[in-house]
Symmetry: C2
Subunit: 112 residues, 2 copies
């Protein structure tokens, strides 16, 4: 699936991927891919800058480490990050409900 329509929803996804414990960037990318059965396979050029933004915003905190000769930047949620994630979930529910209503067709959700 094309992920171009993510505008404004990406941050929440990344935060959600970090909810059950610290992960490094590549692992976040994989987590999203796996939990959605490969439907959400984000390019690295999307993931890394977004993580930088989140860290800059204080929603996650990162630290360098080296595992198996490869450098990793491991991120974990901050308190602000958890709050922001909760907000993102609320916002998504509202958004999805509004769009689904306006879009019509099959009511909500795809019960077919």
């Amino acid at each position: 699936m094309r992920a171009e329509a993510l505008k404004g929803h990406l941050d929440g996804l990344l935060l959600a991927a970090l909810e059950d414990g610290p992960r490094h960037g590549y692992a976040v990318k994989e987590a999203l891919r796996d939990t959605t059965d490969g439907r959400l396979d984000l390019p690295t050029g999307t993931v890394y800058p977004a993580l930088h933004r989140l860290e800059q915003a204080g929603l996650i905190s990162g630290s360098w480490s080296v595992v198996g000769g490869r450098r990793r930047r491991t991120y974990e949620l901050t308190e602000d990050g958890r709050r922001s994630l909760a907000g993102a979930r609320d916002h998504w529910q509202e958004f999805a409900t509004a769009i689904s209503t306006a879009l019509g067709g099959t009511p909500w959700p795809a019960t077919s």
Copy 2:
């Protein structure tokens, strides 16, 4: 609700608003506002350019008329438009399912 996160979903909404019959731009804006209880109140700077794009793309066709001294551009769906609307609905279902899955929290939809 803030409609900034519409990126890529707007076209489908406009097409859906034209599904049950021809409407002019302002009426499309009102239709979306009304069917969502005011949650989706798009600014004119969003609606009109988008309608122009859709007409340019051949998904809707417009014609001028004058009603009550005011000029109106009335649009209706083309065949391509109907196909595109169906596609937009499919795409939305896929997208919403993927995001909801990855975002986690309350599963899907807000049954609470």
